[in-house]
Symmetry: C2
Subunit: 380 residues, 2 copies
């Protein structure tokens, strides 16, 4: 009976379970090092966790010069997480086991303009479909989480002043989800989720900036290994004023915001003015790959503007890496223009070991991040 009841989240067992689930530890020895507990205590608790079916021993790890460790994993039967990443016109949805490994990921069309009530109902229905189709019998759902394309107040789980989500302002999304499933629920900005997901793919990097370049421009920040939320808007770079000859007024009311020049939406509207039909950021990438000069020039300029904004932040934050994801990140000229700007203008101390590259987690980064953060809520 693998933990149909509540999970052991308190005390030493909970600590050890968290370390394994978060992917920080894979063996009793590692658990001892990271938890600060004595090796003997770790063995005792791990034996109990295996006994209750939450952990499983799975083969041997690689030796570090001595006896090989016996690898520990979270049992796939310990529970499931249902996660989603809401976009403007479609959503990715997934089921993960408690170690964050996806069982199934789907993309379905939806429309957040229908408002929060309808969208949450739709999402709940989609989750139930997926559970019916893919969840092994007897494995309980432990938590639900979703990303939204707007700022979220970390204290309340409410969406706050979202520019692309009319009708959602101050709606208690997390509360509703929690009530519907009777489970811990998580709501977080989509770029923040991407950052949390990437963080697991960049071991050794304590400080990370993860840029989401899609229709909008978002950024998530990992500081000291943890997501930095600030007041819910942390990581915002879209409304930074950029140096420009012309003058464009942004939806926020100010002039010359980065978003008005370098977001996917801005690029698409310029292309449309030139009579080139594009519907999504991926179409822009396709134009660039086809060598359409107008598109390439636009994308390169967007990269330069983004890079100039990043220089300020790189000097200030000194990240270990900048990760670029989102629909536009597949466009090479964007990446190279960002790299050029950052390496040219930043302090040598800040760029000496700085890596700038595209996502390692791919399109599921946000779902993985939702799993990672949701785990903290489930095991707490």
């Amino acid at each position: 009976m693998p933990g149909k009841e509540t999970l052991p989240v308190r005390g030493a067992q909970g600590d050890l379970l968290r370390l394994v689930a978060a992917g920080h530890a894979e063996s009793r020895a590692e658990l001892a090092r990271l938890s600060g507990l004595a090796a003997s205590s770790v063995s005792l608790r791990v034996e109990e966790l295996i006994g209750s079916g939450l952990l499983v021993e799975e083969g041997a790890g690689t030796s570090r010069g001595g006896r090989r460790p016996r690898r520990l994993r979270l049992s796939p039967r310990a529970g499931l997480l249902a996660v989603a990443d809401l976009g403007a016109h479609h959503a990715r949805l997934g089921l993960l086991d408690l170690s964050g490994t996806p069982l199934v990921v789907e993309e379905r069309p939806c429309d957040i303009m229908d408002g929060p009530e309808a969208t949450i109902d739709w999402m709940a229905g989609a989750f139930e479909d997926m559970l019916a189709a893919h969840a092994p019998p007897g494995v309980p759902l432990r938590g639900v989480g979703t990303g939204v394309p707007g700022p979220v107040d970390p204290a309340t789980g409410r969406v706050v002043a979202p520019s692309r989500m009319p009708g959602w302002n101050n709606f208690p999304v997390a509360e509703r989800l929690a009530a519907h499933f009777g489970l811990p629920a998580l709501v977080e900005n989509d770029a923040n989720l991407m950052a949390a997901g990437e963080a697991r793919a960049w071991p050794g990097c304590e400080t990370l900036m993860v840029l989401k370049a899609g229709s909008g421009i978002g950024c998530g920040v990992i500081v000291n290994g943890a997501l930095h939320r600030g007041r819910g808007a942390a990581g915002d770079i879209s409304h930074v004023r950029v140096r420009s000859d012309s003058s464009v007024t942004c939806s926020c009311g100010h002039d010359d915001c980065l978003e008005a020049y370098a977001s996917g939406a801005a690029l698409m509207s310029v292309l449309a003015e030139q009579g080139i039909e594009v519907r999504r950021p991926a179409d822009v990438v396709a134009l660039v790959e086809d060598g359409v000069p107008e598109a390439t020039a636009l994308v390169r300029n967007a990269g330069r503007l983004i890079g100039e904004v990043l220089t300020v932040l790189v000097n200030f934050v000194n990240p270990d890496a900048i990760v670029i994801g989102g629909g536009l990140s597949a466009a090479e000229p964007l990446i190279s223009a960002i790299r050029a700007a950052v390496y040219e203008r930043c302090l040598p101390l800040a760029t000496r070991d700085l890596e700038i590259s595209t996502t390692r987690s791919g399109p599921d980064a946000a779902l993985l991040g939702a799993g990672s953060l949701l785990l903290d809520a489930v095991l707490a």
Copy 2:
């Protein structure tokens, strides 16, 4: 015999001592809440710490509705810290007890241009003078720390690529100090020390940006209550490109750095060109207070430029407060120009509860910060 021997830094006693020393806890009950230990265990360990003369009970605190707590303090006889803040032409030096309370603070002229060897010898001599004059007999020195006006590699305690400290590059300052006194030693950038010092004066603020506006422009960042060091240059804002009509080349080799327009040094050189004699940032403040229009306009412009740079960082980091210190911070027009720029251009979510004001810890902020950080080294 109040702990002439080594301090108990390991295990529960160490944890409790740290909590009291850092100012987080003042009673057994608070210690129990913050340490996670059972109240009974806390009482046992506290009794031992009092027995060994490290803690003292000092009167009663204020009731929170029930019995009044018996206040705990670090014994003034538990030990001393010697701390310094090196500037270009003068240094502040102080002796603190282990709870960070200053016994004595002095300002002495010195010249870091004499190079690291001479300066460290000078500092050691000054510390020994002060100890002889002010240290109660039998109270041991537990650690030594200093701030320097340049970046410091957090891993090695070496000064790295300092623009205003020729001869210091890569010099192992911390190592030398530690060797000279045979004690834990700390070396840190001066703005970072200011930030660590201010952090203790802003309880409830998890994320803080502390600007040091003096001859140069520095900034220290507190994220989640801890100093964010990055690669040693974190918090740098002096080499951000600003929007400007003219074009000035900075010492870093790039054009139009903030430092070249808004630092105290830059203001002084402009005033000098106009035939107005000034020798230190305080003289600029005096001119502003005397209503000299050239000085006021210059300072206000500097504030605007600094504020525009801060807008980017406020949107990104979402600090709870921006604290402005350093020699120029006494100039009202600087503060109000910074406020105007930040409140005008930042996202409402980021500025809603943002406080922008001058230092609460005053001119000793850096010394207090050195004490705070040094404590971690001493109790570790």
